[in-house]
Symmetry: C2
Subunit: 158 residues, 2 copies
C-alpha cells in the first residue's frame, strides 16, 4: 500500500475530531500491523471499493466512544447505547468520506459503517494485506485508525 | 430493503458450501434483526457499494469455521489460525461476489473481507438499517448470514 494513501485518513481523523467534537487528537507513529492484537472496546468498520479495495477501522476506547458521542449528540453518554453505536458509525463514515474525496485517483466508494462491540474483539485483514495502524491520543482516551488497501486487477465496473 | 435482494445471498451461501466444501447447509426462517444479539465466534464482514450500500456478515460457530476451512484447505484445522481466518474471509468473499453478480441493477462492488474474532463480539448496523438474518444449519454446526442494505440518494459516481 502506498504511504501517500495514509495521509488523507490521518488528516480526516484530526479534522473530524476537531470540527465535529472540538477534540484535539495527537497522532503517534505509524506502524504496520504485522502482529495480531485486539482492538479497543468499540470499533467502526467501513469498506472501500473502486480502483483499490480495502477497509478503514476506527477503534475507540470505551471512554473515548462515550465522550465523543456525547459531544456529537450534546448529551452525556454512560453506556454503549444505540446512540453511541450510531455516533461511532457516523464518525467512521465521516473519516472514510473525507479521505475518499482526497483520493480521487482511486475512485473509491464507501459502504455502510458497521460497529463492532465486545471486549477483546479483533478485526483481522486477509493475510496478503498488511494494514497500516495510526495511533492517536486525546484527552478522552486513545483511538486507533487502521487502513488496509489492496489493488484490484482492473478498475471495478470495467 | 427489498425481500428479492435476499435470495441471491441465500443461494450463494448454499452453493458456496456445496461446491467448495461439499457441505449441505439447510436454511431456517428469515428474521429481521431488530433485537441485539451477539454473533458466533468468528465472522466474515464485507462491504457493498453501488446503487445501494450495505454489508454482508457470515458468522460461524468455531466448529463450523474449523471444519469448513479444513475442507477448503484439505487439512485438519484445530485452532483459529491465520489460515482459518483467510478461509472465512474467502468464503465471505465468494458469497458476496456470487450475490453481487445476480443483483445487476444495484451495480454493486465489494470491498475487502475482514474477519472478526472474539467470543461475544457483536456486529451492529446503523439504527436506520434493519438487516435480514438468515440462519443455516449444517452437519458441522450453525451459520448465520446477515444482509443489511440501504438505498443511496443517487447512484455512486454520478
Amino acid at each position: 500500500m502506498k504511504a501517500e494513501y495514509i495521509n488523507p485518513f490521518v488528516n480526516a481523523t484530526v479534522e473530524a475530531f476537531d470540527k465535529m467534537l472540538g477534540c484535539q487528537v495527537r497522532r503517534g507513529p505509524l506502524t504496520l500491523k504485522t502482529e495480531r492484537g485486539t482492538n479497543f472496546d468499540i470499533s467502526g468498520v467501513i469498506g472501500l471499493s473502486g480502483n483499490a479495495i480495502g477497509t478503514v477501522v476506527l477503534s475507540f476506547s470505551k471512554e473515548l466512544a462515550l465522550k465523543a458521542s456525547g459531544a456529537l449528540l450534546m448529551s452525556e453518554m454512560t453506556e454503549i447505547s444505540d446512540e453511541v453505536v450510531d455516533a461511532v458509525g457516523e464518525l467512521t463514515n465521516m473519516v472514510a468520506g473525507a479521505a475518499k474525496s482526497k483520493l480521487e485517483e482511486l475512485e473509491l466508494s464507501i459502504s455502510l459503517p458497521n460497529v463492532i462491540t465486545g471486549k477483546g474483539h479483533e478485526i483481522r485483514f486477509p493475510s496478503e494485506v498488511t494494514p497500516i495502524c495510526i495511533p492517536f491520543e486525546s484527552e478522552w482516551g486513545p483511538l486507533t485508525v487502521e487502513v488496509g488497501l489492496a489493488s484490484v486487477v482492473a478498475p471495478v465496473g470495467t
